[in-house]
């Protein structure tokens, strides 16, 4: 028992100074996450106190009343009404101390936000995230940008099965349910790149449905939004990127992906500014040529069940290289 406690303390201490833990609920970076963390810490110490008292009673009973030769037979006690009342009331009283702040926090974190909050709509798909900013009329995927220190209201829903939107440093999860919209609200406390992932089992690639939230200064957020709102960069003539645009336009890509002014597909992520994202495949791989090429050639081998199947007939290596150049040019 003592050993377990020691392990816990050591591990918690280790988690404070060890790795960066980008997805930790123990390192809150928003008011919402902090509220949950404060409540959890509060309950944790109550639980730890109860744990120590009850386990100690158990251990003392075992040691003190262990069988010894010559000890007279135990008195056959059958119960004690006052003690029963005492140990019914004691936990009940402790639970009041847990329940009151719980209810207070439930209502404080119910997803309400001021009217001028930045609004983001999250749509879960098997297995990627779509982000829409209705006030800005822009759409992106897998990497959400929000300004630091400003209230953000996230409306969460799903296009297919149930997912759950979870970015632990910024707050607790909410399910993305088809036909229903759930809300969370938070105000990020510090700039940074936070990671999250789908928390509700949603099929073959549930493990591969990750996301990033980039919290940045107000001006940087404004710059990002301006870039996103602009049309796609036109590839320089007579480069691989221009050939890539032609390959994109004549291939099945256009059926699923939107590139403003090029294609209207809505089944897969919007690629208008895909070159500006740091990751591809819903946070699975860095956005570099090697990974993009592998992804375009055979997505299901990298993400089981992915709807983007291998092209028939397969794209040539030259076509893929051109596509990679084109997509990377879409900053």
């Amino acid at each position: 028992m003592r050993k377990r406690f020691w392990v816990l303390t050591a591990a918690l201490a280790g988690s404070g100074c060890g790795g960066p833990f980008p997805q930790s609920a123990l390192h809150p970076h928003s008011d919402f996450a902090r509220a949950s963390d404060v409540l959890f810490t509060d309950i944790f110490w109550w639980a730890a106190a109860v744990f120590v008292v009850v386990e100690a009673l158990l251990v003392v009973a075992l040691i003190r009343f262990h069988h010894r030769e010559g000890r007279p037979a135990p008195t056959p006690t059958h119960g004690h009404t006052l003690m029963e009342i005492a140990w019914t009331l004691a936990p009940a009283v402790i639970l009041v101390f847990v329940a009151v702040p719980t209810v207070r926090t439930i209502f404080a974190t119910a997803g309400g936000a001021p009217a001028d909050a930045v609004k983001v709509q999250v749509i879960g798909h098997q297995w990627w995230w779509e982000f829409k900013y209705p006030d800005l009329a822009l759409t992106t995927a897998n990497e959400m940008h929000v300004p630091v220190g400003k209230p953000v209201r996230v409306a969460i829903t799903s296009a297919d099965v149930i997912h759950s939107f979870w970015v632990p440093p910024l707050g607790g999860k909410r399910d993305a349910i088809p036909g229903q919209t759930n809300y969370i609200a938070f105000q990020a406390e510090s700039v940074g790149d936070y990671s999250g992932q789908c928390a509700e089992f949603c099929g073959a690639s549930h493990a591969n449905m990750r996301l990033r939230v980039v919290v940045e200064s107000d001006s940087e957020f404004g710059r990002w939004a301006t870039v996103q709102l602009a049309g796609p960069a036109a590839p320089t003539p007579r480069t691989a990127a221009e050939r890539g645009k032609a390959v994109f336009a004549r291939s099945a890509c256009i059926g699923c992906h939107t590139i403003q002014g090029v294609s209207p597909g809505v089944i897969g992520p919007n690629l208008t500014h895909v070159g500006g994202r740091t990751t591809i495949a819903s946070g699975l791989f860095p956005n570099d040529s090697a990974h993009l090429a592998r992804w375009i050639a055979d997505a299901p081998s990298l993400k089981p069940g992915a709807l983007m199947t291998r092209m028939q007939p397969p794209l040539t290596d030259a076509d893929i290289a051109a596509l990679v150049a084109y997509l990377q040019s879409l900053k």
Binding site: R4, P74, V98, A110, Q180, G196, F201, A207
Partner: protein, 596 residues
Amino acid sequence: MKSWLTTTDHKRIGLLYFFTAFAFFLIGGIEALVIRAQLAQPNGHLVTAETYNQLFTMHGTTMVFLALMPLSASFFNYIVPLQIGARDVAFPRLNAFSYWVFLLGGLFLNASWFVGPLFHAGVLNVAPDGGWFGYANLTERQFSPGPNIDFWLLGLQILGISSLAAGFNFIVTILNLRAPGMRMMRVPAFTWMTLVTQFLVITAFPVITVALAFLMFDRFFGTHFYVSQAGATPILWQHLFWLFGHPEVYILILPAMGIVSEVLPTFARKPLFGYTVVVYSGILIGFMGWGVWSHHMFSVGLGPIADSVFSATTMLIAVPTGVKIFNWIATLWGGDIRGTTALHFAVGFIAMFIIGGLSGVTHASPPADLQQTDTYYVVAHIHYVLFGGTIMGLFAGIYYWWPKMTGRLLSEALGKWHFWLQFVGMNLAFFPMHLIGLLGMPRRIYTYSPELGVSDLNLLSTLGAFLIALSILVFVVNIVRTRRRGQRAGNDPWGGATLEWSIPSPPPVYNFSVIPTVANRLPRWKTEHHEPMRDPPATPPAPIHVAGGSWWPMLAALGLPILALAPLTHTLWLAFVGVAVLLGGIYLWAFEPFEV
């Protein structure tokens, strides 16, 4: 051989339940080991995503429905009639029917691992893969077109029939077959918890049956019970599933609590402290277990009022649970404690269940739970409750009653090895999961990124899992060794207070040569109020009629998997064959000559 196939003897059926459930326990354990091997390091690739999803689905389904519930059932069968002084259960042939349905349902579910080729898929391709909780609408035909979910829902429907039949049987048995003088408040705690469990079974299983019937209609006949595009909501499934699922948690834990309430008094040589309170808190838990289901759904967005109410009811249920723990400690207090293996496991149950209960309080609080639900933190919680709790409790029961069931004592030395390996193994396997979850690792993922910083903790957890496997191996060696070389038990190796210890081990087919008359709660003990009872004579003073066996319960049971094959293979005539076998079996059973 024939006598085992046709047996209606509750003791033999109890042993059949034990060995079948233990085999499924080993299968579920192997599934767990593959899962842990996959997660031993980040970006693991021992198995594919699809195989992993089948593994965790079958691990959960197997452990809940094919291992823990039927392991408890083996004690209901073997011990309850002995504790109440009965010759058998109320409906012996229905009891045999329950067992055969359970066996066939378990085989039906597990057949899904191998029969892929019959469905134009590979082996290890068509086992259930939607999680043991099978959330709609992922389980709809649109998103799960293969036969995987069909195996799951049809298998669970079959198993539900087994549980329901057994539930009614044991309720009638406990209420009607008690020995003269055994008033309800003289019934041993284990039998009391069995009774509460059976009431939960007969009320909770119809709910999952309805939920599964809706799903079956959606998948086979194109209805839209869980389809949001048609105006329904997949959340309906979650309400129905957890309305069953939370009482199910108590179906799994109450029998173990009953076992602990038997083992502690015997080895502390002291009556159960606060018997009445322990019994009533068990009943109270049974009732309150119905009012907390939405705490599995705090992330669904039910609104702050619903979240607050379910949070409060959930915290409230900690009170009767805490009361039980205090009474157990008070039972030990002032006793003369003999540290047998059974006592080790019973105390292990209390020590581990406290941790599971306390982590339960942390997710009774919705804002805290939103960071915990669907992460490894909850995996840690359920394993402290169901492994540290139920399995520890069941092993306490096994070491306690094995001599009664087989006539030989399990080795205490091997038993202690088993206990300590399992105790260290489970804490190594499950304690780090608390941190893994809080550091951001969701559950049910076949792979994780090294960036999360949880790789070392996962490796530790995997080591613990293999240590548990080693402990189970020691237990298997213990059983095998005991069969040949175990010390003979005699009627009562422990000095127990209840009726099962008044008869030979294993008991004769008629159990009691003379049905005892019970005058108090601890018939075989001397207390300040009474002397111990006299054990029944070794040979019956008058001939006792013992029923012969019957083939028909097994035949009737066989009809159910055949019936289930009909929708699975889209073959109408199989449905008629299944119904014919079922009805034929019931007909022959009903008109079987009374005297054999």
